[in-house]
């Protein structure tokens, strides 16, 4: 199993049924993540980054039509009956979402919530699961875990609550941790603690991590591989060093340039005009063309550009990459 990806996604497409008609939230996405590795999915709102992961793990809303192939530890998930899929997910995948308050039940003690997962998915006795909960709360850095296990979520700060959610996610000893904007609602000093915590757990437990974020700084600090999404598609994908050193899609370059850089002095920021599109009204062709500063090819407005290789493992979705001199800014 060592060399088989923990999660492998091919041709994943998600169409949501909405009151205003079908919305294609994800359109043909391929990626995979291996044990001990972190894949970062980056994008702005409506890019499909969260939806692709929810759909892959069977958590898409009921109205969604999901096609494509998803393998979790070598088992094809898409064909499985719902109860088996749920068991696979419960046993192998842990989730950490943006807002810890929505993941926690306010009327149950944190210990109960962590031990419940261990009981349900690992078949532990109540007593063993409670001992495990103390271990896990200790592992995620809750001070005096044995004492605080009987506290309720509201007695914890935001950062501590997110640690509890991480402990819950780890309770089933998951092979895969899905972290969906886990630090977005937290202060930056708390974010640093959580990023450090997840990296440390990953080193110790060999968990594969899919980290969904809009923050390129967090990506740089956590990811091995990165996939940049826009309008439901991956527009650039590759090893984190290659993508940051040679951003090859105009959108990736623009995102990197849009952050104020204290070293760059007070010049105006380079911006992308307009706003990210909603899945309900995606432009034809390349979804980025109405905002694209390059728009080098007449086909951009009609045809979806292919993902083409830039270097080993580094791909970009574009028509013109090869006509550009290297190093030119998109």
């Amino acid at each position: 199993m060592s060399d088989c990806p923990v999660l492998d996604i091919k041709g994943l497409t998600v169409t949501l049924g909405t009151r205003r008609g079908p919305a294609r939230a994800v359109a043909g996405v391929d990626w995979s993540v291996r044990a001990g590795q972190t894949l970062a999915l980056v994008g702005e709102s409506g890019s499909g980054k969260s939806m692709s992961v929810l759909a892959a793990t069977g958590l898409a809303p009921r109205s969604a039509r999901v096609t494509g192939r998803v393998h979790l530890l070598g088992t094809e998930l898409t064909g499985l009956p719902e109860d088996r899929r749920r068991r696979m997910r419960g046993r192998h995948v842990g989730f950490v979402f943006q807002d810890p308050t929505t993941s926690l039940n306010p009327v149950l003690t944190v210990g109960r919530q962590v031990s419940e997962a261990a009981e349900e998915h690992l078949g532990m006795t109540r007593r063993a699961a409670r001992a495990r909960a103390v271990e896990l709360l200790d592992l995620v850095g809750i001070p005096s875990a044995a004492r605080r296990i009987d506290s309720y979520p509201h007695q914890f700060s935001g950062g501590m609550r997110q640690r509890v959610v991480i402990a819950m996610a780890l309770a089933c000893e998951p092979d895969l941790l899905i972290a969906d904007e886990p630090t977005t609602a937290l202060d930056v000093t708390t974010q640093a603690q959580i990023v450090e915590l997840v990296a440390d757990l990953q080193r110790r437990l060999g968990t594969a991590v899919v980290w969904i974020t809009h923050d390129l700084g967090v990506v740089a600090g956590t990811a091995d591989e990165v996939a940049v999404m826009y309008g439901g598609r991956i527009v650039e994908q590759g090893p984190v060093d290659a993508v940051f050193a040679h951003p090859s899609h105009p959108y990736t370059s623009a995102l990197l340039a849009a952050r104020p850089d204290p070293a760059a002095g007070g010049a105006d920021l380079i911006t992308i005009r307009g706003a990210p599109p909603s899945p309900l009204d995606l432009p034809a062709g390349c979804a980025f063309w109405p905002r694209c500063p390059v728009r080098a090819d007449a086909r951009c407005e009609h045809e979806v550009p292919p993902l083409v290789p830039v270097s080993a493992g580094h791909h970009v979705r574009t028509f013109y990459r090869h006509q550009r001199p290297t190093g030119e800014d998109g």
Binding site: E44, S45, P143, S157, G158, G159, M160, D187, V188, T189, T190, Q191, A192, Q193, V195, E196, H214, D215, L216, G217, V218, V219, A220, G221, A223, V240, D241, F244, A254, L255, L256, A258, R259, P260, D261, P262, G266, D268, L269, I270, T271, I272, R273, A275, P276, R291
Partner: protein, 336 residues
């Protein structure tokens, strides 16, 4: 309290402001002795994490919260005790832009009606065509098409809504605009647009801003001077370059160290100052220095002495008994 002569270019001033709120858990000391001055044409950046009191400080400048003690002065006038009726005039002079334009715009009103509200309240234009012309002028200023005037907020994108919020703030030609997390809920590509817009408007119209944010990189980019807040106090103030390059307060250094840099090479070799624990409750702040419970460099006298802001460089002040030294040692420890 000493009476000082306030330089004419000071638009707004807080003098030893405290704001306390009664809550079931006790009296929250949201702002606890903050003094600051905003000069005409500048941007003062106010940065801090949740619970630092930065937003309450901004609200106090509009008298949207009542000071418990201290003074609020706007264009030389002490407005601390102003009645509700007089405050209406104050709110023409100090305008505010909020984080979530969705929540701050009335969903039932058109864009034009929202922007015109200050014009109506302060009787700044006639009704009808004159008002419409002024609204269109304001739409131009914030880069919105005239045909958006008759839309409702839900028909706009987040960036467009924030532009409407800015247009409304500009309508009364205020002396000061308090920007409270104006980019925090926007997508990254839209954040850059709004920052450029705000800076462009400032250059064109000579506006004065109090820019409140938790995002230190954005504050650095936007501001002429920066004040860092922690648990109801200003702990450091200086130019963006001073704060960024030679932080003197351990909290500022930790905050800077926590910000991830979009460069994997840098991130891989970076040694962070990771603070332990959380910000203490503002109901019961630590005695002495408020940061000492999380400060990697705390020493015994930090629990006894409440440090005041002292000069550590020209125009650069920090409230730390060991300002400068503590940071040097923290950085040395982190790279060990």
């Amino acid at each position: 309290m000493t009476t000082q002569t306030v330089p004419a270019d000071v638009v707004a001033e807080l003098d030893d402001l405290t704001v306390r709120f009664p809550t079931p858990a006790g009296l929250v000391r949201a702002v606890d002795g903050v003094s600051l001055r905003v000069r005409r044409g500048e941007t003062l950046g106010l940065v801090g994490e949740s619970g630092s009191g930065k937003s309450t400080t901004g609200l106090a400048l509009l008298r949207l919260v009542d000071p418990t003690s201290g003074r609020v002065r706007v264009t030389g006038q002490d407005v601390t005790q102003w009645s509700r009726r007089r405050l209406r005039g104050l709110r023409r002079r100090v305008a505010m832009v909020f984080q979530d334009p969705h929540a701050s715009l009335d969903p039932r009103r058109t864009v034009a009606a929202s922007i015109a509200e200050p014009l109506v309240v302060h009787r700044l234009t006639g009704a009808g065509a004159a008002r419409r012309r002024r609204v269109e002028e304001l739409l131009d200023m914030v880069g919105l098409r005239h045909d958006l005037a008759d839309r409702h907020p839900h028909e706009l994108s987040g960036g467009q809504r924030q532009r409407v919020g800015i247009a409304r703030a500009l309508a009364g030609e205020p002396d000061l605009i308090v920007l409270d997390e104006p980019i925090a809920s926007l997508d990254l590509s839209v954040q850059a647009q709004i920052m450029n817009l705000l800076r462009g408007l400032q250059r064109e119209l000579g506006l004065t801003y109090l820019f409140i944010a938790h995002d230190l990189a954005a504050v650095e980019h936007m501001s002429d001077r920066v004040a860092v807040m922690y648990l109801g106090r200003i702990v450091e103030t200086g130019t963006p370059a001073q704060i960024w390059q030679t932080p003197a307060h351990p909290y500022t250094a930790a905050l800077l160290s926590a910000i991830p840099v979009p460069d994997p090479q840098v991130e891989r070799h970076r040694r962070r100052i990771i603070l332990t624990g959380d910000i203490p409750s503002p109901v019961d702040p630590p005695a002495g220095c408020r940061f000492r419970t999380r400060c990697p460099q705390a020493r015994p006298d930090c629990a006894r002495t409440d440090p005041t802001l002292v000069e550590v460089g020209p125009g650069h002040r920090a409230a730390c008994l060991y300002a400068g030294d503590a940071v040097r040692e923290m950085l040395a420890d982190a790279s060990r």
